[in-house]
Amino acid sequence: MSLEINKTMKITAAMCLAIGAMMLSSCVKDKLIMYKDEAHLYIEKVASDVSKDSTSYSFAVKKAEILQDTVYVKVRIMGKAANSPREIILEPSGKSTAIAGQHYKLLPYVMPADSFKMSLPVVVLRSPDLEKKEVFLELNVVASKDFMPGITKQLGYKIKINDFFSKPDNWDQRLAVFFGVFSEVKFAFIFKTLGMSTFAYPEQVPYSQMTYLKIKLKNALAEDEKINGLMMDEFGNRVTFPN
């Protein structure tokens, strides 16, 4: 009998203790968690940026005297900004077809003190063979003495380099409504007529202006056809702009 009472009381006491402990535990002050890991580096991807993970660079839309230019790769660190400059290493991947020194040039990269992000300049070079073929450069963030590679999916950046009228990155999603199906011949005509090769619609070029550019192209094409006849593209289709 007394053994049984003892047992019940024990259980009750244990339960009380447990509940009490649980209650008390909710009153412990939370300590801030600080980043104590090593510094990492990764490619910054902003959702709205069309060239967040890759970009196309065409010398075709540049003046003939432009023999080299710069493409920027945005990077960010994980961890705290340091009080001294830190080394960054970008390395071309094995998939790249671009040849260092002929199509591009990497520079020594350093994250300045007290910075947590920056744009790394990659020099692209106007090699004569780019008029015929497009080359591809994939750059990866690799471990340096200061940084470990960061977010696994955000370590690579692709750059396509050519010297002909290649399709702008936002053509299909944004520009096709105004300019229709892409062709090199059409894009060359657009560049010749408008003197523009990038159309940041709707961020910088509003709808109303895109409509204006479309109609301007339609008029220019009609004038051109009067002199040269129908304009045919590289696929054998007539160049037109949407109604």
Binding site: E4, I5, T8, M9, T12, P202, P206, Y207, S208, Q209, T211, Y212, L213, K214, I215, K216, K218, N219, A222, N243
Partner: protein, 466 residues
């Protein structure tokens, strides 16, 4: 035994907990009746800028002796900002608010200092200018072309463009327009090479031809600014070519390049839901339509029951304006081969847009008509020749003279309808005047009710609502 006791204890404890929730609250609260403050309603006001606004509101309270504080605030729907006008009970201020299309909201707040409770009353204040509403009469005095405003009371405000902009309209002007866009009232003055957009209240110039376009047409030769009130597309015809600006897209919006095609647009347009942009192409002698969201003009389909072929008119468009029937437009054409006149009705929203056609008979002197206007409810077209006013009855297919200004040298330059009445802009020598006519149910002029003199030589006029 002990086990049972424990169980009882648990049970009792639970019951106690439950019961405690049923305890009646015997709190020692004291309820006192609060002072009840009432403000009598305050009517809405319409004032001009710099007018003084004096209001002595009726404020009553149920308890006497409470100290009340007062506050008058004005809220601008345009800026979204609120400003305190006064902290006195009786408002006496000079209104320095800018005239805007919407009314300002005024708020009168009375606070009982003892209780801290406030009572509110709001009302509207519309700030207008002397020329917010009335006839905008484009007229010439000597070498200067300007706008005279004739308000609904018949008072003339001379040279309001110069008053606001410091100079007469540059290069003269030939036409005035006023429309309601999607957001606001739009006022334009058209010169030989420019189109000036003015603020609706004070006629300060806000845009010119160059700023209306991404690329200004060359040569700059504006012939028409057109939009259907509240419509989402605006049109300009420049040198016979059509330009369009959609306003239902994210701003900013501007006019762009000319609509392609081999055409020459007459300076009249019709707009309806089905055909949201109808022009008459003088080059090919037919109507063309610019479908919604498109940039190419299209010919009209041939529909069964059509009174005529929209694509083959082959005459000169003399006049086209909205008819008394919804979405219908009356168009008058002249056949240059034999100087005959032809009447057409088109429906801008019909499966069959070609509603009616008749060669016009018995239309005295119509070839010399200086101006036309369409009656508000009847199928009638008024036209003026020198000092005479005729009315063309569409059903009768005949015109009759309805009025003749006694002064044989008078010259009617503009006929317009306003709320069922006919108003004529008349030049008598170098001076201009407005004649107001009441109309009989037949469309005849029943009386010349009013004449407003003191205007310059009239060029064009339009009624601008507030």
């Amino acid at each position: 035994m002990m086990k049972k006791y424990t169980a009882y204890m648990h049970f009792l404890f639970a019951v106690l907990l439950m019961l405690s929730s049923c305890a009646k609250d015997h709190g020692n609260y004291e309820y006192t009746k609060l002072n009840d403050v009432k403000i009598d309603s305050i009517s809405d006001f319409s004032l001009m800028k710099f007018d003084s606004l004096k209001i002595s509101p009726e404020v009553n309270q149920s308890e006497s002796g409470h100290i009340l504080s007062y506050e008058w605030k004005i809220y601008s729907p345009k800026t979204g900002k609120t400003k305190t006008l006064s902290k006195e009970k009786n408002l006496a201020v000079v209104i320095t608010e800018e005239p805007i299309t919407d009314a300002y909201e005024l708020l009168f707040k009375v606070t009982d200092q003892t209780t801290g409770i406030s009572e509110f009353k709001s009302f509207n204040l519309k700030v207008i200018t002397p020329y917010s509403e009335g006839w905008m009469v484009l007229n010439r005095k000597g070498n200067d072309v300007d706008i005279d405003m004739v308000n609904p009371a018949g008072k003339v405000f001379s040279d309001v463009y110069k008053l606001s902009n410091g100079n007469a309209i540059p290069d003269g002007a030939n036409r005035v327009y006023t429309y309601y866009g999607q957001q606001e009232q739009k006022v334009f003055v058209q010169t030989a090479s420019d189109l000036l957009q003015l603020k609706g209240n004070d006629f300060i110039q806000i845009q010119n031809y160059n700023s209306l376009f991404y690329e200004q047409p060359s040569p700059g030769k504006p012939e028409l600014y057109f939009l259907k009130n509240g419509g989402d597309r605006e049109f300009i015809i420049n040198d016979g070519l059509l330009y369009v600006m959609a306003t239902n897209v994210p701003p900013p919006t501007r006019f762009g390049a000319r609509i392609p095609g081999d055409y020459k647009a007459a300076n009249f347009m019709a707009v309806g839901s089905k055909y949201p942009g109808i022009i008459y192409d003088e080059k090919n002698g037919g109507f063309l339509s610019l479908p919604a969201n498109k940039s190419e003009l299209t010919a009209f389909p041939l529909v069964e029951g059509a009174a005529f072929d929209m694509n083959k008119i082959n005459k000169t468009l003399v006049f086209m304006q909205p008819a008394p029937v919804l979405d219908h437009f009356y168009a008058l054409f002249k056949d240059p081969r034999n100087q005959s006149f032809h009447f057409y009705t088109i429906n801008s929203n019909g499966t069959n847009p070609a509603v009616k056609y008749q060669p016009m008979a018995n239309v005295p002197d119509i070839g010399r008509a200086s101006t036309f206007t369409i009656a508000s409810t009847l199928p009638l077209i008024y036209y003026a020749v020198d000092q005479k006013i005729y009315v063309y009855d569409v059903e009768m297919n005949a015109a009759r003279k309805v009025y003749e200004i006694p002064d044989a040298a008078a010259h009617i330059v503009a006929l317009r309808m306003l709320k069922g009445a006919l108003v004529a802009g008349v030049n008598e020598g170098a001076e201009g005047a407005l004649y107001y006519f009441d109309l009989a149910p037949t469309g005849n002029v029943s009386s010349n009710t009013k004449k407003i003199s003191g205007l310059g030589n009239i060029i064009d006029m339009v009624y601008k609502p507030q």
